[in-house]
Symmetry: D2
Subunit: 134 residues, 4 copies
């Protein structure tokens, strides 16, 4: 199973008047984690789009277990539970000081940017991912 880990810090702009990172930031943290996970695999999402493939998010879910505070360092664990085909699911666990504060997932589709139609995960990605599921 493909797994990666990265981290970021809660920015001041992300806090709200409860003093927490506003819940809308988590889906942005997921995006950040996902992009860095792909980078660690040797794939750039930018290069993917440049090659004519985009990956819109079609589905997401999130559980906000504990708040994150300003300047907290959030560790993001990203898992791809199964080899993608026309869709790719990412699961996320977020930790502050080793305490799980949020878990969620996003499902993304592969879309041919020229035709606007769904497609399978590109070969280049499958080649990199397959070894993790054997």
């Amino acid at each position: 199973m493909f797994f990666a880990e990265t981290s970021l810090r809660v920015r001041y702009v992300e806090t709200d008047q409860m003093g927490y990172s506003h819940h809308s930031n988590y889906i942005i943290y997921y995006e950040y984690g996902r992009v860095e996970a792909l980078r660690s695999l040797g794939m750039s999402y930018k290069a993917l789009e440049d090659s004519g493939v985009m990956m819109p998010v079609i589905d997401s879910g999130s559980r906000y277990l504990k708040p994150a505070l300003y300047d907290d360092e959030i560790k993001i664990q990203i898992t791809v539970p199964e080899l993608p085909s026309v869709r790719m699911k990412f699961e996320y666990k977020l930790f502050v000081n080793e305490i799980l504060i949020n878990k969620g997932y996003t499902t993304l589709a592969f879309v041919n940017m020229k035709s606007g139609r769904p497609m399978r995960a590109p070969e280049s990605m499958m080649k990199l991912l397959t070894p993790f599921y054997e």
Copy 2:
């Protein structure tokens, strides 16, 4: 069942390089819809916080069915499927030109801001909501 409707327009800042309203905006649209739904009921979320009660989001889910484009007017339908107790669920349907583009939900808790502890929905809110469930 309590039901309300409001609308907003996709702002330029919300678009991404796919030309769509970025998926992270929807949870912000939900918040907007939820606050306006409460206002239409005669409740102000601001007044609620001023009275010492906050409602953090503890759970959310979203299905992104079709993209929204810059300047699109999004109609937001908000439903509270059941009378709240310690939690309150909101369901959302978003439409552009009468076409459903997104559906989602958020669950919020009631928290006493002084003690930081969970609590039941305040009396004032229950009084306003109860008639919708009889």
Copy 3:
């Protein structure tokens, strides 16, 4: 001189842990005001881009005089101090309860999206604006 007025409410997501609308929101409020000002003139920024003209911001400045709070209704006054040529300047004054809380400006260029080159304000816009400067 072309002048317009619109308003919006501070969203919860826009607050920060000081309890204020974070200073980064004002330039988004300006964008909102500018787009609504053009709309009141009979112009849609969306239609402008669809016709192949974009208006990137090249310069901005802001003075944050007083904080805006969650749910405050902000009145935005937008002025175009002079007839545009290759650039268009917008000035903004923001009020909460008739008190000036922020003033700023943005300068935008006109760019031909096909060539990527600067251009003069399109005829259609000049026709609508000229009467305000005679």
Copy 4:
């Protein structure tokens, strides 16, 4: 003169339908740069607020010279042109591939959070900064 350097990457959510990092992000990049500059000096903005001092932005200006694209790495140079007293000015230069794409500044005030009144820069900060201006 106190000077620091840090960097970040343009996130997908920050792009707009022009394909650029939306101009509203720069003031957030400045905040990021400013906080990291203070950290490199041995100061945490979080600790500052925890000690009862906040630094609201009272003034800002920005020149958007060239666009930044998705996934671009932006190098941020932060300068504090003079020793702060009741205000502190930060100047920023942003580079992509060694090309200057944006310059700007922000002026911040020091405010005693308890009284809500302006104050001088705290001793601890002055001690760290003074050597850079001798």
